[in-house]
Amino acid sequence: MPVEDPPGGIPQAILRLFAEYAHCIDEDRLEDWPGLFTDPCLYRIATRENEERGLPASLIVCDSRAMLMDRVVSARRANVFEPHRYRHMVSCQRLLDAADGEYRLWSNYLVTRIMRDGTMSLFSTGAYRDAVVLAGGAARFRERVVICDHGMIDNLIALPL
């Protein structure tokens, strides 16, 4: 059985971090997104099937803020793809443990993708496995692993999930 939440449950600053993360992406403020991570950090997009079989390959893996920023700059200027947006839903946040100002959480996410022609689709669902550090009221991701439920990606991933 996982440990109990601290009184008051998941700190507000962490819920706020989750919302800020989603809006940086969904509202096209990608440049603000790397700042939500510590440096160094770990950001990975994995698939559940690989994780469960102990296979280490990722769709995306970044271990520094600079690498996160490279993803943003490349999406803005170098890579080319049909413009689209995501909309994030995050739910069932669960605090796994908290020690020395570091919180480990598990949550469910769902992301829809909207193309410029107005079509909308269920793009990804899965879990976030997070390590968040709280320092001076500010929360940052030391680690966010996105575990997609699906091994198949609809065409491409150009924006963070």
Binding site: I45, T47, E49, N50, L55, P56, A57, S58, L59, I60, V61, C62, D63, S64, A66, M67, M69, D70, V73, S74, R77, A78, N79, V80, F81, E82, G151, M152, I153, D154, N155, L156, I157, A158
Partner: protein
Amino acid sequence: MAEREPLIAWPEGGVTRAPYALFSDPAVHDAEMRRIFRGPVWHYLGLEVELPEPGNYRLIEIGETPVVLLRNGAGALRAFVNRCAHKGTMLLYEPFGRVDELMCVYHNWMYDLDGCLRSIPFARGIGGKGGMPDGFRMEEHGLDRLRVESLGGIVFGTFHPDTPPLAEYIGPRLMANYRRITARRFRVLGYYSQYLASNWKLYFENASDPYHATILHAWATRLKLNRFTMEGAIEMSEQGWHHLSWSRMASDAGGEIYEGAAFRSGQAAFDAFELNDASVIDQWDEFGDGITTAIQTVFPTFVLQQIHNTIATRHLVPRGPAGSELVWTILGYADDGAEETAARLKQGNLIGPAGYISLEDGMVGGLIQRGVLGDRDKASVMVMAGDAVETIENSRASETGVRGFWTAYRGLMGL
């Protein structure tokens, strides 16, 4: 049979033209499933390392047909259509696993690992009533079997009796790179796939087309990872069906022709574009030949890839006339050290649906699919380096690879 009449009229220009009707016509699609996918070609079925033990199996789709590749009790590789001989139920539906026999869930007809029917529940009926008739012969109701060949740890299968041996099919010239990549035992690092909203041929043209590589993938061009001004070539198999495209990054000369050229990579957006953390492109010369990119195709649906130190197989599955799925198997070698594995994993950012160097490949097919739908009687034009299908040394300014694909296609389709 009606299907022997030409499905479409091929325009003047032979393999320098591909009529757009080929990318959306359902009748063409049905004919491809028979004439090409059941024809004298080899299909990727999986890897030896995926089946270490007797009883290990993996599933794969060949065109519209579900197939199981397994090791029988003696450790021999077998491939069958994943379909019960009774009423057609798929026998297995977990992608990978281990079995002692193949038992159909519906009525539990049971087959051994050589595909022979071994038992049928109530075959003798109940109380002497019912059951299978005397005339029924179990040996006539086994699983449909594919011919299998394993080469360098990669397993292929074919439905057709006349398909030449695999090494001969690939051809001596392209076997060189095939051996180069498969010399060491593989280790599987992971799997993923991409759904592509475009006809399967549009992706395979793309994989056979080095011409687009340094242009569409401006990220890599800008970072000088792959340019036509490097040493490289397009090599074609003897019969012209398969291609290999390779380049040596270190050899770049005259790259300045990319600066300010009328390419996207020469445009303003790229001024001062560089990586903040270049560790993603750290690589080492693991084959000792300085070749940094080598893309090899095996008609109709297989790609063997080396991009820097990322090794992968890609297998293409048609999903009707307007879609396809590209299945990636990400590889290292069994004798990789921790550092090499770490580097391959980090270079993983370059490939796949989120890959800096590959994400555009999924997109262009969709742009073509929608672009050509309204004009099925028009055709693409592929005349770079003329109309020949031939190896071209030290230049990749050619569409010979794509013309090679269409050469195989027309031959098998009778078009």
